[in-house]
């Protein structure tokens, strides 16, 4: 019953979305408001239906309704309660529902926010959103129906992939999808701008907050993914340049570029063509990401299973890109910008360079990801490129980008005079060099690490210079210190929100550098009572114990850790899930500001007398997560409604 009801609702939602998209478009074309309003009602209908479908599926999960095939494949009688909820989006079909639901939600928000303020653009934006929503509903109906019946009804389900039984499973896909789907809205407005010919700044101004929100969630999703990888997957790393990771990273890169280049268009009316192309590219990359994860075209640790869904996604991606870029070609004359670049040494140049570097990085990641396909198609040889390729090409790009983070906000518009340069950059450059020298003096020999240090100090000092200067001018006007700083942050929340986000990136950069340059590891087999030593830590193997949980068996190792003083006991484990081919290892770790102690239980003797462990001391990794928190604060500050624009 559930299955049929759910399927029926999906079909109706699909119909409504198609109708709404056409009605909104027709309403925009003919100017008949009644059509647009009808489309709005259709959108509301779609939202209600998709929400109900979602609720229905969750209900099926919670009540162990194994007559629904998706439920049977992803839970079993032993799955704990909360994972029965998060399991709803744990596999392909559920992830499409989640995506569709978010798109529907964003459509409603778009309606509420913009139906008054953007008369010409709004109907076309609505039509685009509903059209895209219709596609995902089509996927839900045809290629990945969540409500397929399972006959005969099995007595027990298969169970959730144990790797997904983790708190990260609750947040990571949600954040990531909020980010991906968030970029649909700026894209929809860009399409509206192209179709109506209103390619000025209106569409940009409307989408500014959307872009920041989408960008933020994408950043958050990536960071949580890194955290999940780090503390669950047991390889001691947070990023592997896996095709699926790359698929999420590429839109982040172009999205970041877009976030910056809109500022140029706002201020100088330049780069209009570039901005529209960037938004199309970013949205295209989000579709490419979904395609990659679901088509099985490129092998990956993360990939869901393949099927007809790949063809659907590729066709849609092609349709979107061809129509959007076709519109760009059609409106070419109108888009060409008015402003000119005056000098290479200017804020416009810095931002342009920032964009070029980000797009270059995105291209590199794309190239590396599809390289296996390319080499096979061209030379018939199966080759892949791994982490070394991505690191080698991207690290210089990223380091330059970090450097630009310091230059961009302070350098003058149009043309920076020598005076402007010295006033803003003398101290930062000097202190940056001092930092590099200090690092060298403290024993740092890696050139990369020293460069990273110098650059991060440089950027940090530029932020400090700007903030102090601005505060000082307020103090001169008679304000006292804390209110001055507070008002500064609030009045210019865009600028300072951006600064805080940059600070977050700096902290992340330091964390990445530390973990790459200074982490150490060892692997060894210990008898009971024996200890391993690494980087000042002493890890003693005390023994193994076994525990039975609701849906798995767990073997836990006890290891006493000390570094001069006792630090407690670490308990890495291996969980044996009956439906899985092999046990899943669970790391235990001791996180710290300076370093993390990371312990994985490998092989062990059946009688518990010996254990093989992998021991890692990862340096500065916690800074990555801290940087993420700072980034959150910055994004929140930047989104605040503006008080009033002062100089």
């Amino acid at each position: 019953m559930t299955a049929d009801l759910g399927y029926g609702m999906t079909l109706v939602a699909l119909g409504l979305a198609v109708y709404g998209s056409i009605a909104a478009g027709a309403g925009a074309r003919t100017g008949r408001l009644a059509l647009v309003e009808s489309a709005q009602h259709a959108a509301v209908g779609v939202f209600v239906l998709v929400t109900t479908c979602f609720a229905l599926l969750t209900y099926a999960f919670l009540t162990f309704d194994f007559s629904v095939r998706y439920v049977a494949t992803n839970t079993n009688l032993g799955t704990p309660f909360y994972y029965r909820i998060t399991g709803v989006w744990g596999a392909l079909e559920g992830s499409i529902i989640l995506w569709s639901w978010m798109l529907a939600l964003y459509t409603i928000i778009l309606i509420v926010r913009h139906r008054e303020g953007a008369r010409e653009l709004y109907p076309w934006a609505l039509a685009t959103m509903l059209g895209i929503l219709a596609f995902f509903l089509l996927v839900m109906t045809v290629a990945a129906p969540p409500f397929q019946r399972q006959v005969p009804v099995p007595a027990d389900g298969r169970g959730l992939n144990p790797l997904l039984e983790d708190t990260g499973m609750i947040t990571h896909p949600v954040a990531l999808y909020l980010g991906f789907t968030g970029f649909t809205v700026p894209f929809a407005f860009a399409m509206a701008a192209l179709i109506t010919g209103r390619i000025g700044d209106t569409w940009l101004a409307l989408t500014r907050r959307w872009t920041i929100v989408a960008w933020y969630f994408l950043s958050l999703g990536l960071l949580i993914g890194g955290w999940w990888s780090y503390h669950v997957l047991g390889w001691g790393g947070y990023w592997a340049w896996d095709p699926v990771e790359n698929a999420a990273f590429m839109p982040w890169l172009t999205g970041t570029a877009f976030l910056h280049s809109v500022m140029i268009q706002e201020r100088r009316r330049m780069l209009r063509l570039w901005n529209i192309s960037l938004v199309i590219l970013t949205f295209g990359l989000t579709l490419f990401g979904t395609f990659l994860t679901r088509s099985g075209v490129i092998a990956s640790v993360h990939a869901f299973t393949q099927g007809s869904i790949g063809v659907l996604f590729l066709s849609f991606l092609g349709l979107v890109l061809l129509s959007a870029l076709g519109l760009v070609a059609w409106r070419w004359e109108a888009i060409r910008s008015e402003g000119e670049l005056d000098s290479v040494v200017s804020r416009e140049s810095a931002f342009l360079l920032n964009n070029v570097l980000l797009v270059a990085a995105a291209f590199t990641v794309f190239f590396g990801t599809v390289f296996p396909l390319l080499s096979e198609a061209v030379r018939g040889v199966k080759v892949s490129v791994g982490a070394p390729f991505f690191n080698q090409v991207n690290i210089p790009l990223f380091l330059s980008l970090v450097f630009l983070m310091g230059v961009g906000p302070l350098i003058a518009w149009r043309r920076a005079s020598l005076d402007n340069l010295t006033r803003n950059f003398l101290w930062p450059v000097a202190l940056g060099i001092v930092a590099a020298a200090a690092a060298f003096a403290l024993g740092v020999r890696s050139v990369l690490a020293a460069l990273t240090f110098a650059t991060t100090v440089f950027v940090a000092v530029t932020i400090a210079v700007d903030f102090t200067r601005a505060t000082r001018s307020r103090l001169r006007l008679g304000e006292s210190l804390l209110p001055a700083m507070g008002r500064l942050l609030l009045r210019h929340n865009r600028r300072y929100g951006g600064f805080v986000v940059h600070l977050g990136i700096l902290i992340i950069a330091l964390g990445v550098m530390g973990s790459h340059a200074w982490s150490v590891q060892t692997e060894t087999t210990l008898h009971r009572g024996e200890a391993a030593e690494l980087a000042g830590y002493r890890v003693r193997f005390d023994g193994l114990t076994a525990v039975e949980e609701s849906n798995h068996l767990k073997v836990v190792g006890a290891f006493t850790v000390s570094n001069g003083k006792p630090l407690g006991v670490l308990r890495p484990a291996k969980k044996f899930y009956p439906q899985e081919q092999a046990p899943i290892a669970y790391v235990d770790y001791r996180l710290g500001l300076r370093e993390d102690l990371y312990l994985v239980l490998g092989d062990f003797a059946r009688d518990g007398s010996q254990a093989t462990i992998k021991l890692q001391v990862n340096r500065l990794v916690s800074w990555i997560w801290i940087g993420g928190l700072v980034l959150t604060l910055g994004a929140a500050l930047a989104i605040l409604p503006e008080r009033h624009k002062s100089a």
Binding site: A387, P388, T525, L544, T545, L553, Q579, Q581, A582, T612
Partner: protein, 148 residues
């Protein structure tokens, strides 16, 4: 935009594109990993070249020495076999009679030195249910006996 500036721009763009192209080319040639089967590798092994080798672990060939962390086994594709050595615990999905994908290089001493072992995982596979259960229950029992 006047022509002079436009030319400067295009030149600048080309320089950046060329630099990027060079970096990518260098990166690819240095870190390219070639997919081969045991038969392909045995046909023309090149010492030092980075390979990704896929095949089945031949039952009975697996030797694991926990103390020295030496792992050795034979990988086969039904037609040819390759002796493999690896330092460190194999991943959990790895075992005899199962598929595995290795990254490493061919040594002059006649074996494949694996730096990375990735075991093949298929969504359609279900592990023998009760057999593992029985085995693990025994394991738990022994450990419980020991653990006290």
């Amino acid at each position: 935009m006047n022509n002079n500036r436009r030319h400067k721009f295009i030149a600048g763009g080309l320089v950046i594109a060329a630099a990027l192209g060079y970096m990518i080319y260098a990166g690819v040639t240095q870190s390219a990993v070639y997919f081969v089967t045991p038969a392909e590798l045995q046909a023309a092994p090149v010492p030092g070249k980075a390979y990704r080798l896929g095949g089945m672990v031949v039952p009975g060939s697996l030797k694991w020495e926990p103390k020295s962390l030496d792992l050795s086994f034979t990988l086969s594709d039904g037609t040819a076999t390759v002796p493999v050595r690896h330092k460190g615990t194999p991943p959990d999905l790895f075992g005899e009679g199962r598929g595995a994908v290795l990254e490493g290089s061919w040594t002059a001493d006649g074996y494949f030195k694996a730096n990375l072992i990735m075991a093949k995982h298929s969504e359609e596979y279900k592990a023998p249910h009760d057999q593992n259960q029985a085995g693990y229950r025994e394991l738990i029992k022994t450990l419980r006996g020991e653990g006290r």
